[in-house]
């Protein structure tokens, strides 16, 4: 499962790199947190790795799960469930770390995100994306980019730069 999605991520990126991706036809990676489906624009995703070899960093807020060694670079891992104040995610066989690049002061920061399971790479046309509801999504509205309609259901498309806001997280680390 993970392998196929990884491949999809890879091809998706090459598609974009080739300049053939359509403006209104963006690709998204969908994944599970508990029973809910979320999506992240594939452009910000570097890779997906299996969960493991995590080093716990002491005295951290619960959403910082620890750090991993990603080919010689130390990358912090964010527990997305804890970030959404839903309690720490339980680790299962399907747990994955999605490696994401976010812009911070014009420098790319690499951050890992712990999710319960990754599903697939989808194309969601822009007319299939609804605006953010002012309440009801159960997570902070600034975390949401939009609501994507997939198979008559809604998936929450996350605003990665807000969810993984380096400044905000650094503040919380200090506290």
């Amino acid at each position: 499962m993970v392998e196929t999605v990884k491949q999809a991520v890879a091809t998706g990126q090459s598609l974009v790199a080739g300049g053939r991706a359509l403006e209104d036809q963006q690709q998204y990676l969908t994944f599970m947190l508990g029973s809910e489906t979320f999506a992240i624009n594939i452009l910000s995703i570097k890779e997906i790795i299996e969960y493991g070899n995590l080093t716990i960093v002491p005295k951290m807020p619960s959403f910082i799960r620890g750090v991993i060694n990603l080919r010689g670079a130390v990358v912090p891992v964010i527990d997305l469930a804890a970030r959404f104040s839903r309690g720490e995610a339980a680790i299962s066989r399907k747990s994955c770390i999605v490696i994401i690049e976010v812009d911070h002061e014009e420098v790319q920061q690499v951050i890992g995100v712990l999710v319960d399971a990754v599903n697939e790479v989808l194309e969601i046309a822009s007319e299939q994306i609804e605006p953010v509801p002012s309440f009801g999504a159960k997570i902070r509205t600034d975390f949401i980019d939009g609501m994507g309609k997939v198979d008559q259901k809604f998936v929450i498309i996350l605003n990665v730069n807000q969810v993984l806001s380096v400044d905000e997280m650094a503040e919380l680390v200090q506290a």
Binding site: V74, I111, V166
Partner: protein, 726 residues
């Protein structure tokens, strides 16, 4: 080399020259200037002017030219290099630096800058006006004598003749032949110039980056040959440059003509066109040449020249000497290589990866317990260690350069304060990481200014206290157990403990009844918003500065301590790590996590006495008896809130930082290792007690314990505990 690269080199060179100029000026101020120092100053200005001319930077050339003229007078003992002139020259230095930095930022010189130039130029020209300098053209020509010759009539013209065939790659090397000719114009007057386009290929075969042009120039100047030659220093390689002094013999011109690949007559025509030769002269010359020409007469050019009394033997010897000197300088230069700092960083990163990989291999070898494998991995580890050391030493630079900048700071500040202060420097050869050297400048400046402003007393007070009138400020650097220590000390009044305490209370930093050690009180001056100066001076006393000093130093993983004796002086001691990238560490384990304690802080490891292990953890009186010494300790498990039960036997790592000792209780001791420090990253930047990450041979991430901050935190916690109880 593109023009931009050449410009970059020019900027770097200028900076270096300005530095040496400044140093020479400062030394000239201390003691009567030696001839050597004055020459050094003059040379620096001259070289800057010359190089700037190459780039067609007229505003720099014209500015430096005035300074150079004044310096020339100094060199000729026409005017003394007195303190006001030194002060003016220092300003000139600064201004040239400013001009150069505009260049660096690709900024056009703005009005302020030009105004600055004008003011300084006006200041300089006062030195020139009292002994009016004869204008270049009226200077007597002194070069006639040596060039008098017997075998041939001198040509009629009074002009130099320059024959230039530039190296085809000159443009590709980032030089523009035109700029040389333009610069030549600053030495005299170009009477006429003929451009040779013979070698120019048809348009379709032409390479736009190749220089096909040659020039024949008739040049009127009072400059000597060396000066004119020096114009073309940069392009000499691969180019044919012939310079014939005024009134050279015809035969020389003939030789010149023959030495050129082009056909004789064509060149002769050119010389005529140039106005260098008359037709008659040329024809006579060529005719006489043909009559004497025979193969056995071919002699080395030097000999021929001597024989014909064109150049005196001494001149040839001098020229040879000069060539040798140039060669020597070149070899000295060759032993130094400028390397892009990024390349070095990349190398050090790779060495870091290598260290991790090699300790991974050692780990496997140990697990497999194969003797051969163990042997070869240990060889590799040793080699890797050597590579690490030499890679790191590439980044090491002596601190002397930073120290010598303070000569100027001390000079300026003491003038501003009206105090007489001398600077003593020692330990300039102490080496430390380039990044550290770059970043330590600002905090050091603050400390130096602070010592001068607050530390050293005014002369009257010093006299009353029976001290020498001249205050002394010392800068010293030395190595101490894996750290580098930089000391700023003064023989001033020292820190007044009571005054600091009172001020801190007034500022609300501490409570009036707080009990503090001497050191703690001194450290208050590093608190934000603290300042004891009664009057806010121009230099310090605004309460910014000292806290910035501490922050900057801590950012380099260093600390600053104060030693002070009231009435005798104070010493600020900065303690810094040697390098920022790689450390020797001591690996310990607590629960499932691995921690690395920097090895240079570890003194010893002991087992936690069992009676002590059973000690009630609720009580904060955690200390052990270390051979009669009280050693406070903290449990890493508790400090980092790590879950799980400690093992039956625990270990204590005794660490020392500065003069304080502490025990860190851990589960297991794993031994020494070399580690590459990985930065915490933006997200985890503000975490306390952890200095960074490192990757173990197994691929797992370990945390590097930040001993100083942990000590501070423990002390702070103890403090709060006591205050709560009372």
């Amino acid at each position: 080399m593109s023009l931009d690269d050449a410009m970059q080199t020019f900027i770097i060179e200028c900076r270096e020259l300005l530095e040496s100029m400044e140093a020479a000026l400062l030394s000239a101020e201390e003691a009567p200037a030696s001839e050597e120092a004055i020459n050094a100053i003059f040379r620096a200005a001259h070289t800057i002017k010359g190089s700037a001319g190459l780039f067609g930077l007229d505003h720099i050339v014209s500015f430096v030219h005035v300074a150079e003229s004044v310096l020339d007078k100094v060199r000729n003992n026409e005017i003394p290099l007195d303190p006001p002139l030194v002060a003016l020259m220092l300003q000139v230095c600064d201004h040239i630096g400013l001009l150069v930095s505009y260049l660096e930022q690709f900024k056009e010189p703005d009005n302020d800058l030009l105004e600055g130039s004008a003011i300084l130029q006006a200041g300089l020209s006062t030195y020139l006006s009292d002994t009016p300098q004869p204008s270049a053209s009226t200077l007597p020509v002194e070069h006639d004598a040596p060039y008098e010759s017997e075998g041939g009539t001198p040509v009629e013209t009074d002009n130099w003749h320059l024959s230039l065939r530039f190296n085809q790659d000159v443009l590709r090397n980032g030089m523009d032949p035109l700029s040389f000719i333009r610069y030549l114009g600053t030495l005299g007057k170009i009477v006429s110039i003929v451009t040779l386009t013979d070698t120019l290929p048809p348009l379709d075969a032409m390479d736009p980056e190749t220089c096909y042009l040659g020039f024949e120039i008739s040049f009127s100047s009072t400059a000597d040959k060396a000066d004119i030659e020096s114009v073309f220093d940069f392009v000499r390689e691969g180019s044919q440059i012939h310079i014939l002094p005024p009134r050279s013999k015809i035969s020389e011109y003939i030789q010149l003509i023959q030495s050129m690949p082009a056909d004789d007559m064509r060149l002769g025509e050119l010389l005529i066109k140039c106005g260098t030769l008359t037709r008659q002269e040329l024809e006579d010359g060529l005719a006489s040449q043909r009559t004497v020409e025979s193969p056995d007469q071919v002699k080395p050019i030097g000999e021929v020249l001597i024989e014909q009394n064109v150049v005196q033997p001494v001149v040839v010897a001098a020229a040879l000497d000069k060539q040798k000197a140039v060669k020597d300088v070149k070899t000295a230069e060759a032993s130094l290589i400028r390397v892009d700092a990024n390349k070095l960083d990349q190398l050090i990163n790779l060495v870091g990866e290598l260290i991790i990989a090699s300790s991974g291999a050692s780990l496997i070898a140990q697990k497999e317990a194969l003797p051969h494998l163990l042997e070869s991995t240990s060889t590799i580890s040793r080699l890797v260690e050597t590579i690490r050391d030499s890679a790191l030493s590439l980044r090491m630079v002596p601190i002397g350069g930073t120290f010598s900048k303070f000569k100027r700071v001390v000079r300026d500040v003491s003038a501003e304060l009206g105090k007489d202060i001398q600077l003593e420097i020692s330990g300039e050869e102490t080496e430390l990481d380039k990044t550290v050297v770059e970043k330590i400048g600002d905090p050091l400046t603050h400390l130096v200014r602070n010592s001068m402003d607050h530390g050293i007393e005014p002369a009257e007070v010093r006299l009353a206290r029976g001290k020498p009138v001249v205050g002394t400020l010392k800068l010293d650097a030395y190595h101490d157990s894996g750290n580098i220590i930089i000391e700023v000390s003064d023989d001033g009044g020292g820190l007044n403990k009571d005054k600091i305490f009172a001020k801190a209370v007034e500022r609300g930093l501490i409570k009036p009844d707080q009990i503090m050690s001497e050191n703690e009180i001194y450290n208050l001056i590093f608190e934000p918003g603290f300042s004891t100066a009664d009057a806010v001076s121009n230099l310090s006393g605004r309460g910014v500065g000292m806290d910035v000093v501490r922050r900057n130093i801590e950012a380099l993983r260093g600390t600053v301590e104060i030693r002070s004796v009231l009435g005798e002086g104070a010493t600020m001691r900065i303690r810094l790590p040697l390098t920022l990238a790689i450390i020797d560490g001591f690996l310990v384990e607590v629960g499932d996590s691995s921690y690395v304690v920097p090895l240079d802080m570890v003194i010893e490891c002991i087992e936690l006495p069992v009676t002590q292990a059973g000690h009630d953890a609720e009580n904060d009186a955690d200390f052990i008896n270390l051979r009669g010494e009280v050693l406070p300790y903290l449990r890493l498990r508790k400090h980092f809130e790590i879950n799980g039960e400690p093992p039956r036997r625990e270990n204590v790592v005794v660490v020392q930082f500065g003069d304080r000792k502490m025990g860190i209780v851990v589960d297991h001791l794993m031994g020494e290792l070399q580690t590459v420090i990985k930065p915490l990253g933006k997200v985890l930047n503000k975490i306390r007690g952890i200095g960074g990450f490192t990757i173990l041979g197994s691929g797992r991430v370990a945390l590097i314990v930040d001993v100083p901050s942990m000590m501070q935190e423990a002390e702070h916690a103890a403090h709060e505990h006591i205050t709560q109880k009372t």
